[in-house]
């Protein structure tokens, strides 16, 4: 199952778990299933009206920052991080 790394400030919502195994083959599925496991976490990650990650959040899948956010496919052994997006100059 893909492994989601929980941002430290949100670990209070996962019972202090730093990583959570979540089913899903896209980031959207992971986020929705994470919400089922740990209710309340989705509102910190996603703008539900837009059905997308908040603009300030980057999702990193297997070391690469995704350019397509919630639509990004993940593998069975993927590692997923939600980090503050980095803006360049």
């Amino acid at each position: 199952m893909p492994e989601v790394w929980i941002p430290p400030k949100l670990q209070q919502l996962t019972g202090n778990k730093q990583q959570v195994q979540v089913e899903g083959s896209t980031v959207r599925q992971l986020v929705n299933n994470l919400e089922k496991l740990h209710p309340g976490i989705k509102e910190f990650l996603c703008d539900e009206m837009e059905d997308d990650l908040f603009p300030g959040i980057a999702v990193i899948v297997d070391g690469e920052t995704s350019q397509i956010g919630m639509l990004q496919k993940v593998q069975e052994n993927s590692e997923v991080h939600f980090l503050p997006a980095i803006g360049g100059g």
Partner: protein
């Protein structure tokens, strides 16, 4: 072709065009003065706009009376923020990969309710001449209720500090990076802390217990400006049909279009943004300042309006980078292995939330393998201009702290500082303190190239001379980008791409196309398209253009190549699969008699099916990080405190240098800006929040006379996510200089400089403190 060849190591693949140094296509226009910059647009009947700015750093705007100004002959319009709708403070992604809080940005362009820094735009005037506009500005009566300003993060975080935004939400989630705003009826949190977030890895407490050597230190840096030569300038023309055209120099014509449209409440398709040449941006021209004001004045006056900033306005009214205060604690075993790290980064965002502290914290230790870490980042609003992006935003300040701490730790360990970094460098697959794994990048090769360089192996002799080294890590960006390649009947190709050309990208993009098609780069005619003539393209920023727009040009050229083969197949009445394309010659795979050149097919394209146009819209993943290692020799004048740079060598992994001379230029430019940041540059304020050095006479940037030749070494560890191996090069060279110079000063005179700039007075003070004077 340029004759000069930069130093390169580990170049692993040869190409026909990629890796050569052709003369830039826009070079003649630029050296002869024909190139048109932001201020060069002149339209019939055009008016001149001037911006009235707050004389106070913190004040409530009680009322604005422009009646006397409007009565002056030749004055056509006066505007304030009341002339446009209030923009939502919800975070918005304008699809350019950057993050914007357009509500805050709109209030930065024209103050609404409160002036939050001296120089904050409050109103604007359009008149028949700049002088008439200035005269009118003096007649605008603004009734201010002056408030106490708060000018540093340290002061702003105190419980009784003046509050900039009553509804600011102090958030602690990565979801709300540029700050949040409370609901209308929520009770004020009375805070200036816009955001706080952290990263944890392993067991940092145990890591420090296991450490044999520990270094703790604190550094401070002041706000510095990007210092571009060309002040912001724009002309806007609002037509009677409701369409708006904007000519301006920016790092993104689509950003100009989208932000202006949002502020004015009109459709993006009603705005046409035409990119002019740009005389430097370095991040600061990635957002709008003058375009919406020119548009507003044009709408109200019915005439075209030009707004062009003066240098003091650039300093006071546009974004510098953040001032910072950073603490770090590092622990290592006696054999030199880093095992624990803690850091707290406090960045001043200026008047509105959104400093680059998120980038600062993620880049700070990106090049190292540290198993246990705890990093905290805090974003604070203060009464200074809103911080804007500046070349590797956030990373130079955090590297200054980290890399000087690394130097101290290497000294405690008795290790060579390069060896110490080699021992602790992150290899592919190593987990960063911030969580994700390290992708393929040439940190070890870059360190090794620095270690092998003649500079590092030449003994530095002389009194008060010292050598320092430092490294830097930067997460390059990607983003959406577009390109269109049109074949002309003479066999040339007109290439339109969406990225404004700041660092020579017309040539680099043309080289991508030339390489694919096997034709001379001089046969490619590159241009930057306006928002009506090319697909969406994100800003020229984040060291992204050669990667993302290179990808777009590569794909557009591949499309042309495929269509060429189709035409040859049609002419020869054979299957397309039997056509081979090599070096601009199309040939039957098994019949050597059947050959056509690129030019021959171009000449026959109309009767064989019509124009040949290749286009691509991309948003490619995998820009990969950048790594730099710098070596510097300095000499300190112990009578005056002046630091002279004797020799400087910058080593950097470019992935693959498309145009090595331009890569070298980017490295040298970044180093020079870093030297200025290290030794001279800072915003100097009085207690009322007024900047005291608003000209280049008093804001001291380095000139050619201050510097030696900056030597460069380009290392090439190909980025596997780009067809030619490109990784961004523009930003990382500004990351190491401050730390490298501080380390060199320590080697020269034995004092640790922890506060930027390391100006003569501070160096003398530190020297006297060491000598007990």
């Amino acid at each position: 072709m340029l004759e000069y060849k930069p130093n390169m190591v580990l170049s692993n693949e040869e190409f026909n065009v990629i890796g050569t140094n052709p003369i830039r296509h826009d070079g003649a226009d630029k050296v002869t003065g024909r190139a048109k910059y932001g201020a060069d647009t002149k339209l019939a009947g055009m008016l001149y706009g001037k911006i009235l700015r707050s004389p106070h750093a913190h004040a409530i705007i009680k009322s604005i009376d422009a009646s006397a100004a409007e009565a002056i002959p030749g004055v056509y319009a006066v505007v304030t923020s009341a002339d446009w709708p209030e923009t939502s403070i919800k975070l918005t992604d304008l699809a350019d990969g950057a993050i914007h809080n357009l509500g805050f940005l709109s209030m930065n362009v024209l103050a609404r309710g409160k002036a939050l820094y001296k120089g904050h735009a409050v109103a604007a005037v359009a008149a028949v001449s700049p002088h008439a506009a200035e005269e009118a500005m003096a007649k605008i009566k603004v009734d201010y209720e002056v408030l106490k300003p708060v000018l540093s993060a340290e002061e702003a975080m105190k419980p009784d500090a003046p509050i900039l935004h009553e509804r600011l939400a102090s958030v602690s989630s990565p979801a709300l990076r540029p700050g949040g705003i409370l609901e209308e009826n929520a009770e004020s949190m009375r805070t200036n802390i816009a955001n706080e977030f952290e990263f944890k890895l392993g067991d940092v407490e145990q890591g420090f217990k296991d450490a044999d050597f520990i270094v703790e230190k604190e550094t401070t840096t002041q706000a510095v400006h990007q210092g571009y030569i060309e002040p912001q300038a724009a002309v806007a023309q609002w037509q009677t049909d409701g369409k708006l055209t904007i000519w301006s120099s920016s790092q993104g014509q689509f950003t100009v279009r989208d932000q202006t449209a949002r502020f004015l409440g009109i459709r993006v398709s009603d705005v046409k943004a035409i990119p002019m040449e740009i005389g430097g941006g370095f991040g600061a021209k990635g957002i709008v300042y003058v375009e919406p004001i020119a548009a507003l004045l044009s709408r109200k006056s019915g005439r075209a309006v030009k707004v062009q900033l003066t240098r003091p306005e650039v300093f006071e009214g546009t974004g510098p980078t953040s001032g910072t205060k950073i603490k770090v604690k590092l622990g290592a075993t006696k054999d030199g292995k880093l095992i624990a790290a803690e850091a707290e980064l406090v960045y001043e965002a200026g008047a509105f939330p959104g400093s680059p502290v998120g980038a600062g914290i993620q880049c700070m230790m990106g090049q190292y393998d540290i198993p246990n870490g705890h990093l905290v980042a805090i974003d604070v609003v203060i009464n200074r201009p809103k911080a804007a992006a500046y070349r590797a935003p956030g990373a130079p300040a955090s590297a200054f702290c980290m890399e000087t701490a690394m130097d101290e730790l290497a000294e405690k360990l008795g290790m060579d500082p390069l060896e110490f970094r080699l021992m602790n460098s992150a290899k592919e697959g190593v987990r960063r303190v911030t969580g994700p794994m390290t992708p393929k990048v040439g940190y070890i090769e870059t360190l090794q190239a620095a270690k092998d360089h003649q500079h590092y192996n030449t003994k530095l002799e002389g009194k008060h001379r010292g050598r320092g080294i430092a490294s830097g890590w930067w997460a390059n960006n990607s983003g959406p980008s577009s390109a269109v390649a049109v074949v002309n009947s003479d066999g040339t190709v007109s290439l339109t791409e969406g990225s404004p050309d700041i660092g020579g990208s017309r040539a680099a993009m043309a080289m991508h196309v030339a390489e694919v098609l096997g034709i001379p780069v001089t046969d490619i005619k590159p241009q930057v398209g306006d928002t009506d003539s090319i697909g969406f393209t994100s800003n020229t920023g984040g060291s992204s253009v050669t990667f993302k727009t290179g990808w777009a040009c590569y794909q557009a050229a591949q499309s042309v190549k495929k269509q060429m083969a189709e035409r040859a197949a049609k002419i020869w009445e054979i299957p397309e699969a039997d056509v081979e394309y090599k070096d601009a010659i199309l040939q039957h795979k098994s019949d050597p008699e059947l050959k056509l050149t690129f030019k021959q097919i171009a000449g026959r394209m109309i009767p064989t099916g019509g124009p040949i146009v290749g286009s691509a819209g991309v948003n490619p993943p995998g820009p990969g990080p950048s790594i730099a290692v710098h070596v510097v020799d300095v000499e300190v004048d112990t009578d005056t405190g002046k630091v002279e740079i004797l020799r400087y060598t910058a080593v950097q992994d470019a992935g693959k240098a498309i145009h090595p001379a331009y890569v070298e230029g980017q490295i040298q430019g970044g180093v020079v800006q870093g030297i200025g940041w290290a030794l001279n540059e800072e915003y100097v304020y009085n207690d009322d929040g007024a900047m005291l050095n608003t000209s280049f006479l008093d804001y001291r940037m380095p000139t050619a006379l201050d510097l030696p030749m900056i030597d460069t070494v380009i290392v090439e560890i190909a980025n596997p996510m780009h067809p030619y191996g490109v990784r961004g090069v523009g930003e990382v060279p500004i990351v190491p200089p401050m730390a490298a110079i501080s380390n060199a000063i320590y080697a020269a005179i034995g004092v640790r400089m922890n506060d930027l700039p390391m100006s003569p007075d501070k160096v003398l003070e530190a020297l006297w403190a060491k000598e007990g004077k």
